[in-house]
């Protein structure tokens, strides 16, 4: 077996593998994208504490989410499909150019605002949805997910017990100043409406959540003002 043979063999192998893998990826893409859409709907509904099994996610989403719109950081509405906005691209832009999706839900007459947020954990991106009650101050629920946080430590932010802490917390204080919920190291004081317990062994991920919630919600400040004054 000459060097020539080895090189030819390796090259042919690479070409064949590339062909097989890319055709598989192309064929399966529509199915995978559908799954990701459904997961997104499930996550949005989870932020207002509506459990949505896969099979019913689409129907429940259409039933509860009455409005989906895009605003900019000045609170002005802009054209576009809020569901299709890729937050991972948006967070890289300047605040003024960002498209900020808002999902408005009507659950038996009660109005909720659901806002997507995205930031960085320890190993990779983290993202989630914050559901606000109609006063735009009280958090109705939160849902977080992550790409590659440490299982058992930082990855706990994707678990219910961590997320349930956010329910009932506030993002504005009594005087109406913006004071988002922080994830503190160890235990948060029981009467603190602006802090939740951190994840033991997951401090950097916890800090990532703090920053994500702060920056993510801050972008909507003008929009909140606008709704509150009208």
């Amino acid at each position: 077996m000459t060097n020539r043979y080895v090189f030819l063999y390796a090259s042919a192998m690479v070409v064949v593998v590339a062909l097989v893998l890319s055709s598989a990826a192309t064929l399966l893409r529509p199915l995978q994208e559908r799954n990701m859409r459904i997961e997104k709907m499930q996550n949005i509904l989870a932020a207002i504490n509506i459990p949505a099994p896969r099979a019913e996610a689409e129907a429940l989403f259409n039933q509860y989410i009455t409005t989906a719109k895009i605003v900019n950081s000045r609170g002005e509405e802009i054209e576009g499909d809020a569901f299709e906005v890729e937050l991972q691209d948006e967070v890289r832009k300047d605040l003024a150019d960002r498209q900020l999706p808002v999902f408005i839900a009507d659950v038996d007459g009660e109005i909720f605002y659901i806002l997507p947020i995205r930031g960085n954990g320890l190993w990779g991106p983290i993202w989630g949805y914050i559901g606000l009650e109609s006063d735009l101050t009280t958090i109705a629920g939160a849902n977080f997910d992550h790409a590659s946080e440490t299982p058992g430590l930082g990855a706990e932010i994707a678990d219910k017990p961590f997320q349930e802490q956010f329910t009932g917390k506030r993002i504005f204080d009594e005087e109406g100043n913006f004071r988002p919920v922080r994830v503190v190291k160890g235990r948060a004081p029981a009467d603190d409406l602006h802090a939740v317990d951190g994840v033991s062994g997951g401090t950097i991920t916890s800090n990532g959540v703090t920053n994500m919630v702060r920056d993510g919600l801050a972008a909507y400040k003008s929009y909140f003002e606008k709704i509150k004054t009208t």
């Binding site: 077996m1 080895v6 390796a10 097989v20 893998l21 598989a24 399966l28 199915l31 799954n35």
Partner: protein, 219 residues
């Protein structure tokens, strides 16, 4: 290994071929006896469901990888054989991952990084190197799925006990009746953590050796 090689007259399920399939379940078990592939056993056996999907994925990857390498065995340049084996395994794993994402998305989310870790499962490359490279496709296929089943049953056993005692459920359904909890029974949180998988595997190995004395090293 030459005594296993298939002569043209040999039946598909000759005693020798059957041994390829059954030996890895017991005497040659990749986990219990060779102690390979332990990392994935620790990582994905918290629930029975993920264990089953992992086992099926490994059966698919190992069966196919062994056949492909066996078909190519006379053309593979020895100097780059490890690279060729890795490429074959990695491509199959990517295919499995794509298929899972398309058809069982929830499971693929749970397995997340561990699907990629099939590539590093030493059992697969071990069988390619030790068997498929020198044997015909059919015996190689049997050897591949035999070892994958040997890996799979241990995985399922560990997953069964960890989910049962760790969460009180099986396949996500509550099986430990509610009144036991009222009487003071509690799920063992330790079972959910990886160290308990190691101990469970240890117990399986212990029972296995107790029943098959020939495995006990008396040197």
């Amino acid at each position: 290994m030459s005594e296993y090689s298939n002569t043209p007259k040999e039946a598909l399920f000759s005693p020798q071929n059957r041994k390829l399939l059954t030996n890895p379940l017991g005497k040659d078990n990749p986990i219990n006896v060779q102690v390979l592939g332990i990392c994935s056993v620790l990582a994905i056996t918290v629930q029975l469901r993920t264990s089953i999907v992992m086992a099926i994925s490994v059966v698919a990857v190992m069966g196919l990888a062994n056949v492909i390498i066996s078909l190519l065995r006379k053309t593979i340049p020895p100097r780059i054989r490890i690279i060729v084996q890795l490429t074959v395994i990695a491509s199959l794993v990517i295919l499995v991952d794509q298929v899972l994402k398309a058809f069982v998305y929830d499971v693929s989310r749970q397995l997340s990084v561990f699907v990629g870790l099939i590539i590093t499962n030493c059992i697969i490359m071990g069988r390619l190197e030790a068997y498929a490279l020198n044997n015909k496709p059919w015996p190689s296929f049997l050897d591949g799925i035999g070892n994958a089943f040997g890996y799979g049953w241990v995985l399922l056993t560990v997953g069964f006990f960890r989910e049962l005692f760790g969460s009180g459920t099986l396949m996500g359904y509550q099986v430990i009746p509610g009144f036991l909890y009222d009487l003071g029974y509690e799920n063992n949180g330790f079972m959910i953590l990886p160290p308990m998988a190691l101990i469970t595997v240890g117990i399986i190995i212990w029972v296995h050796r107790h029943r098959d004395r020939s495995l006990v090293d008396i040197s």
